[in-house]
């Protein structure tokens, strides 16, 4: 970190409006996309992105610059999203109704356009993957996240991330073929 960045982060930690707004503008889209892809739906993204940034501002004095700032912020976003996902899974497990099915049905209605249908199909296939493959795979698909950042976010070696992304892609392709045989490739 250079002196300018240290001063900027210091202003963020003390609640300086323009400095905080700049940080949010710079990383907001990536934070929201990490949360969106982790949860697989839009409903809570804004609230959780807000929670992420408030945590970031609160813990900024603890940030020692060992990792890149973007990596640290992405890690916080991933933790917030994963906490929300676990809460949702616990809620779903205790509810008699299958709300996951309702979400899929809403996607079907909204997905009148072909692209929306494809996205709904990909999301449905992703939801069936085990978490250990799903998370590295979805993060690898986010622009700006490299393997090094993903490895830090998931606290695992880069080699393991690459292996799980590779295996995740295989599993996703199998799931897509099972859900829509021959219907998911670019040729269709």
């Amino acid at each position: 970190m250079d002196q300018q960045e240290i001063e900027w982060l210091g202003r963020c930690a003390s609640g300086d409006g323009p400095a905080c707004a700049e940080l949010v503008t710079r990383y907001g889209r990536m934070v929201g996309t990490i949360i969106l892809r982790t949860l697989g739906r839009h409903e809570e993204v804004e609230d959780l992105a807000q929670e992420t940034f408030l945590r970031v501002f609160r813990y900024l004095p603890e940030f020692q610059g060992r990792a890149r700032l973007s990596t640290w912020i992405c890690t916080v976003a991933q933790r917030v999203a994963l906490d929300a996902l676990r809460r949702r899974q616990r809620t779903l497990a205790t509810q008699p109704e299958d709300q996951a099915g309702e979400v899929a049905a809403e996607d079907d209605v909204a997905g009148a356009a072909e692209q929306d249908q494809r996205n709904a199909l990909v999301r449905a296939a992703l939801a069936e993957l085990p978490e250990k493959f799903r998370l590295p795979l979805i993060y690898a698909s986010i622009e700006g996240l490299d393997y090094e950042t993903i490895a830090t976010m998931l606290a695992m070696p880069i080699g393991t991330v690459k292996t799980q992304v590779f295996r995740g892609k295989q599993l996703l392709r199998e799931r897509l073929e099972a859900l829509a045989p021959g219907g998911w490739t670019d040729e269709h």
């Binding site: 409006g17 393997y147 590779f166």
Partner: protein
């Protein structure tokens, strides 16, 4: 982006890239800046709320705490006299263990 793979796997990843990214609302940064200012202006935590916070975090990390307790019990039950005649060894192990536990606890508790 990580797109060095080619073939069917590459197409699979391309599909993932096409999923929509999140677009923050226009006033998102301004609202958050205001919330950050309010957060920064809050009074520092008093000792009782710090204790509550610490307790909550420790409970949240219950498996970690229970594992540490189990390791401590195992260390306590070890027949130290069988390993060495010196009485220094158990103290040395205990001190190292405590130091390691302290470092790990600080890392866990200071993580956002």
């Amino acid at each position: 982006m990580n797109t060095e793979a080619r073939g069917p796997q590459d197409r699979t990843l391309a599909r993932l890239h096409q999923l929509p990214a999140w677009q923050p609302p226009a006033d998102f940064a301004v609202r958050l800046a205001a919330a950050a200012a309010r957060q920064a202006a809050e009074a520092p935590l008093d000792p009782s709320s710090t204790f509550t916070w610490l307790l909550r975090r420790l409970v949240h990390r219950l498996p970690l705490g229970l594992s540490a307790g189990a390791v401590a019990l195992v260390l306590l039950a070890l027949p130290w006299s069988a390993f060495a005649e010196s009485t220094l060894l158990p103290w040395l192990v205990a001190a190292c263990g405590a130091l390691l536990g302290l470092v790990l606890a600080m890392r866990v508790l200071r993580a956002p």
